[in-house]
Symmetry: C2
């Protein structure tokens, strides 16, 4: 299959590109390299060093004797997007090419507008390019479980049957996204669902949980092939942060009661799910939604797991001020059977997996910037002070 | 009250500005005059001549001895939006300032992207300006009944109680918008609902039906104060088109079976509803949704009403190719009690109202361009030929 991986220089895009290439697909990575610019803007960096894209691709060629093509450009530039789709003539497009940090989108007006325009316009251009060049292309789009928010009923996969005043219909599941980033994904999903209806496009929307881990069969082959491990307050995710704090001898920072429950998955399952979606494409005109996570944990449970597995003594600091506006104890029961039905065999969050993450941090601990962990973006303020503006002592995140 | 009317040069914005001014409010019209540019782009014009904005405002001063202030600029320009909100210090903002034509948004990629960026970014800038300058400002935002689409269950006002697998929650009503324009309104509503939640903004979302009529107490005072009457295939609405066709001796063009049912309201009720929303503002943090229509009719019923009222013989041409992707017979039962509860006394679509519209067309029949009525934008195509490109004979809309 000829596959475009949009955002193929990012945390998940890169190992997905490697994985699809290893499976024998003809992969083209499309990226504008902006993920590297966000690091510069925020004054943070991946725990694991990230090689330049050309070096990554050359090393993959050396290691695997397989070629990954690269196109550098911006999806919001319609001429670029049309040219890539026309010239590469893909059978499928995996779309990771969006700004994907909730805190980044909440920094201030500029970042909110940037996130929504970048994500929505890039995806609109892509939809039109597919419709006008080859409507048969299967669009596999990355969304997030956060699109649903935290309703007090079970979360279904994209749609829900509602009986109301004696009548019944199956309707799009109501969404309650929790940041301008999450909202951009909801906007995208609505736009794509419409394009499937009016133009007969085929698309799979993967509502992904929080991904942890950094090890995949292909990226482990050589340090130059490694993907990112983000632990900072803007692009990092909770389990990564806890592992870094544990290794650095810091209390694990649990916001509020820590009862926030999230769907999670191992990075290897991201690759497996994308592959399963590609191998069994949506039908023409079909907009299907898969919830892509394998387990769910509360923040408190994750802290306790890291504490249990860590060989060093670990303190858990609960009750810290929560920068987000969210319920800290809530119902969470979400369906995730569609990918299992396609054959997904989950990699679960075992003690060994956490031990592997702790070991990774230990190996790179000289690169850790503990100040980068504190949350600097406040949901309740329309403009937040960036971490870079006045990063100070470790104590800062204990008194936020 | 100090009130900004965004889009105050448009079809509904202008008579709303007049009405609020007549009630004694201090009104500032904010507009970028782009509605006039769309006419030039499409090669169409309002049936009723529209005076320049400065002339309208001067005449209103003459007639009423009341001043309406004007600020010309674009809401997507954040500096402009912040300056207007800061300098005018409004108590409330009525937001009509968006691209509001579904066919216009469906012309091609450029128009779809323009519509979503213009509407979403303008509204984001406005939300941030309110949050940072005065979160107490009441934002009255115009949405559309078309946001809901046509589900097979009753449509509620913004939210619905869902019981699912033994649990119950009140969630945002699922939306199935039918064009990139309608999608932009759904995106806006989701963004504003979020801003109310995290920043405590107060907002009323008016999901308006199709507005008919052109006569209001204030705009009738002088021809220079008149508002638009659009009947063309891009900006015109169905009842206006039927009235123009009846007067010009053309068959009324009903798409498909004509069973498409729409919530409708008289332009005078738009003014009344906006006024009621302003007089009883949303509470801080509240995002409330009112369905703003008074009656519902199928397209077929509207054609029959025009035929019955017209003094000339009228033919109805059913079964024409529908340019939109929609069910032509569908369930439609939508709640609209919240504005009635606030005291709305509807102006219904009586024979006299239709007779008045026919008379208006008769008076301006020398300005009618019958070629402009044909639908030129096709939902199933990602790019449509504009009316201006090759407008030909009357026959064109009988064979589309």
């Amino acid at each position: 299959m000829k596959i475009l991986v949009l955002g193929g220089d990012g945390y998940l895009g890169w190992p997905t590109a490697l994985h699809l290439s290893a499976l024998g697909h003809h992969v083209t990575v499309v990226d504008n390299l902006v993920r590297r610019e966000y690091d510069a803007e925020m004054g943070v960096d991946s725990l694991v060093p990230i090689a330049p894209l050309e070096e990554r691709v050359a090393r993959w060629d050396d290691v695997s004797r397989r070629r990954i093509d690269v196109r550098i450009g911006n999806l919001t530039d319609a001429a670029f997007t049309y040219a890539v789709v026309a010239e590469c003539a893909p059978d499928a497009i995996v779309h990771f090419g969006e700004q994907r940090s909730a805190p980044y989108s909440m920094i201030d007006r500029e970042h909110a507008v940037y996130t929504q325009v970048n994500n929505v316009v890039g995806t609109l251009n892509l939809m039109y390019a597919i419709a006008e060049i080859n409507p048969d292309i299967h669009l596999v789009k990355l969304g997030t479980m956060g699109e649903y928010g935290y309703p007090d009923i079970d979360i279904e996969e994209g749609f829900i049957e509602i009986t109301h005043k004696g009548r019944t219909d199956v309707l799009p599941y109501p969404k309650q996204p929790g940041s301008f980033y999450h909202l951009s994904k909801v906007h995208d999903s609505a736009n794509i669902m419409f394009a499937c209806r009016v133009w007969g496009l085929r698309s799979t929307d993967l509502n992904q949980g929080i991904v942890y881990g950094q090890s995949t069969p292909e990226s482990d082959l050589d340090p130059v092939l490694a993907t990112r491990f983000d632990y900072d307050g803007v692009f990092g995710t909770v389990l990564n942060r806890f592992c870094v704090q544990a290794v650095m001898g810091h209390p694990l920072t649990v916001y509020g009661a820590g009862g926030q429950t999230r769907g999670m998955l191992n990075i290897r399952d991201t690759l497996a799910c994308v592959t399963l979606a590609l191998e069994t494409p949506a039908a023409p005109g079909e907009f299907r939604v898969f919830n892509q996570f394998t387990e769910s944990f509360s923040v408190r449970e994750m802290a306790q797991m890291v504490k249990r597995v860590s060989s060093k003594p670990v303190q858990i600091a609960e009750g810290l001020h929560n920068p987000r506006v969210e319920h800290e104890e809530h119902y969470f029961h979400a369906a995730n059977t569609k990918l299992l039905d396609l054959g997904l065999e989950p990699h679960l969050l075992t003690d060994e997996v956490i031990a592997g993450m702790l070991e990774l941090v230990e190996r790179h601990k000289d690169r850790v910037d503990v100040d980068a962990i504190a949350p600097t973006v406040q949901w309740r303020a329309s403009a937040s002070t960036l971490k870079t503006a006045n990063a100070s002592s470790d104590a800062s995140f204990l008194v936020v």
